[in-house]
Point group: C2
Chain length 147, copies 2
Amino acid sequence: MSDILHRIATETASPDGVYQALTTIDGLAGWWTTDTTGKADVGGVIDFQFVPGGFSMKVLELQPGELVRWEVVEGPEEWVGTKVNWTLKQSGDYTVVLFEHLGWKEPVEFMYHCSTKWASYLLSLKSLVETGAGFPSPKDVQISDWH
Amino acid sequence: MSDILHRIATETASPDGVYQALTTIDGLAGWWTTDTTGKADVGGVIDFQFVPGGFSMKVLELQPGELVRWEVVEGPEEWVGTKVNWTLKQSGDYTVVLFEHLGWKEPVEFMYHCSTKWASYLLSLKSLVETGAGFPSPKDVQISDWH
């Protein structure tokens, strides 16, 4: 098993802004993809569509201001069954976000791509929370020939 | 052991530009840190200084246009002994860069940070090769309270 791990922090006085951006359809559409639909409650499924394809995430757990856990229920075969964890903590003037995309069966080249692409979306999340404007798909940063 | 993996691609007709950016002091100073010194030949040690500290990399292997391998010989204790591999390949109009920072003893929070920070530096490398201007330290993107 291989994992993608990232850490960013937003300059914010509480985790509320990040938590909203991770747990509401409008919030998610503001940094990941504008084409976000579905139900964001626990047990709900959120559908994210991008230019090359899409993913559906089942919301496994929500702890306000602290934790968001998803399971990938539809998407590229390498993604299905993997889990995404968002752990939030306040550290002085910053909200720290620990991101984990866990349980890749093999470290295939597509995983290398997704690792870098996740980082660019995390910077979009940071921008959304700090400035009110992210850069979600289809206005996302193109990192390679794989978009 | 845990690994950081990334993939970017530059819109370039051959790997020459990326290879130069990875194997010359001037090239490295153009995307990673302006404070880059040392010897970039095989067996040489390159010193990279940043605002929070620095790293020294021993150049283990150079295959022109294809592969660059480093070993971390000085720096934060979590980095010493880890290895960094750069694998290049041409795919149509793009030079694909597979990046690996291998052999972290534990997936500590600092590794999460370095994973995201590497991604931001890879985008700086892409910018340097495609446009002639990167954004190396101290003009790098600040991703968090950890710089």
